[in-house]
Subunit: 340 residues, 2 copies
DNA sequence: ATTAATTTTGCTCCCGCGTGCAAACGGCTA
DNA sequence: TAGCCGTTTGCACGCGGGAGCAAAATTAAT
């Protein structure tokens, strides 16, 4: 009795079963589930009904295997301490799914793990890899591209010098100049730049740009502090260590932070450990405009990345068959609030 | 010249190619890439070398198709405004990957979308589905199970009455009683419970438990306020509306929040909009122990879920072939800080 | 050395669906 | 009604690898 297992576990209902039920061939059934298929409305309806009754769902593994397009993209992420990651993930996953892409999420533990993560992805034959981590420097990318099994390798929200890579990011240089100008205009004169991890070549140009620009235009050389990860707690520790005990005159008048994660950590410490007021004693700027930045507690002056536009562009790139240079920089927006 | 495309795009190097290169059969090659395979160390080495040279990586789609085990689990998430989600995702993805599970991430937009999300997952023939959202009430689950294509449906960090579902969660009842007792011991007498969305049947027993327990043991009936999502900003708005303008005597002396997301939003508003001190004017407790809870700014008294233990248990459940009742409640831990 | 017990290898037959083409169908005109 | 042309349908074959067994190669036992 081979017909009796329907009720038990619907796992093995295949297009053949539906074909028999609907009185058409298997290929007609498959066609009914592809959007570009040439099929009469009559048989489409028959297939629909039969499939419904049997609980048939096409097997994308087989489809992918046969067609060599998986409609799967890998999303490689590290840096889970940064609240901005949640926002990026939400935006990306929503838009990717809307366009029919499924997402393989890979938590990349550390820099050495990146290779394994890429291997993971290639075993599933993903159509593209999206990197939104901090550990993917040019060296890692080269290794990845060496064993290239993906048609596209996209660095999201970060630039890369690697020519085989597609980078979709905000224009850091422009942004930092705008921030530098704003900071100076508001009368701040002794900025301290709070930077993230100084990994080999993760091209976040914010630190360099700000410092160079400030030196060239406003004379003095800003101090820089570096945190080993974009983790508010870590950032707080570094800031506390660096500033505690300094006389008022030796304190910076503003902390320019590489992103909001650092800015938030710094804010907490400045208020609650150093007992200083923001912005009266020390002002702060961030970068990213995470949700909390707008909240009553931080009211952080920061720079908003146009994440939706960037994600929309990303899916366009994914859908494109051309082989041109897709790198693109987006312009963000300075969000002036109360912290600076 | 069929041998010349190696350099171009390594996408189509198959076990056959490696077999030819290594001088063995295709099946030996495949065996070399399976951990349980019976293969001589000699040929394993030959295959390793050949595979390395050709850049061969086994195709998991094909493997999955042939073996009917995909080693893929779907992770369905909504509620991206809750910072705790990031922590859960980090913990889950790390441990799942360590155990060899790949993850299909599905952002479930709204309740009606849950069905599509499940469909998504079943098309990839995932071995299990993990739900860590708030929209997956019993009705949605029933629909999901009706078209059951997954061997396991796991609700993480939330209980469910559905018997066909595996729920791995913290013991809310025990936890809330502990919190209630603590709150009372510390001398608070007019608690306000700040609850999340009151969806049909998402069994988070925190609200009921606290209110019932308090009424029975300490006499009065606590007020309850409900927020439409676990979103700090939303929570802040609700709290401000409810408390602004009340005379001091009509204010609660403590806000017991269903989770930290709400507690954080409430904290910000109480301090910065209502101008009250925490815990002197109003105390606050949370639930989850998100990273920020420990930070200098919030110092939130909250309840820590043993996420790592829960995730470890989850992978054990995934690996198990038995068909018994895997539901399990974990005991968490009250983290006493300064907010209450 | 010879036979029996094991391990290793090769092989046939699938897994479920897409590709590309040929056959069948339908509608329309003359 | 025959003749044409465009649309639907069916089909052989392939995608890359797993299960399970039989043949071959080792190893152990007598």
């Amino acid at each position: 009795m081979p017909e009796d297992k329907k009720s038990a576990f619907a796992g093995n209902i295949t297009a053949d079963d539906v074909a028999a039920e609907a009185g058409v061939s298997r290929w007609t059934v498959n066609r009914a589930f592809r959007k570009d298929a040439s099929i009469s409305s009559k048989s489409l309806e028959k297939v629909r009904i039969a499939a419904e009754r049997l609980g048939y769902v096409p097997d994308l593994r087989a489809a992918s295997l046969a067609s060599d397009r998986s409609n799967l993209v890998a999303l490689l992420i590290d840096d889970f301490a940064n609240p901005h990651k949640l926002v990026m993930m939400e935006r990306l996953t929503r838009i990717l799914r809307r366009e029919g892409w499924d997402i393989l999420l890979v938590n990349t533990l550390d820099r050495d793990d990146a290779g394994h993560a890429l291997l993971n992805a290639s075993q599933r034959r993903v159509d593209a890899v999206i990197l939104i981590g901090i550990q993917f420097d040019d060296e890692v990318l080269d290794t990845a591209l060496h064993a290239r099994r993906f048609r596209k390798l996209i660095i999201f929200a970060r630039t890369s010098r690697n020519p085989n890579t597609i980078s979709i990011a905000v224009d850091d240089v422009h942004a930092m100049k705008e921030i530098a100008n704003y900071v100076h205009e508001r009368g701040y004169r002794r900025p301290l730049f709070l930077a993230g991890p100084r990994t080999s070549s993760a091209h976040l140009l914010r630190n360099e740009t700000f410092v160079d620009y400030w030196r060239q235009h406003f004379g003095n050389e800003p101090e820089t502090l570096s945190v080993a990860a974009y983790d508010p707690a870590l950032a707080g520790g570094i800031v506390e260590n660096a500033l505690a005990g300094r006389p008022k005159s030796a304190l910076p008048d503003i902390l320019v932070c590489e992103n909001d994660a650092l800015a938030i950590g710094a804010t907490d410490v400045i208020r609650h450990k150093l007992g200083l007021r923001i912005p009266e004693d020390i002002a702060i700027t961030g970068f990213d405009d995470v949700p909390q930045a707008e909240g009553a507690n931080y009211r952080l002056t920061t720079y908003r990345q146009p994440l939706t536009d960037m994600a929309e562009y990303l899916v366009r790139v994914l859908g494109s068959e051309e082989d041109r240079d897709f790198d693109r920089l987006f312009q963000g927006k300075l969000m002036v609030r109360d912290s600076a």
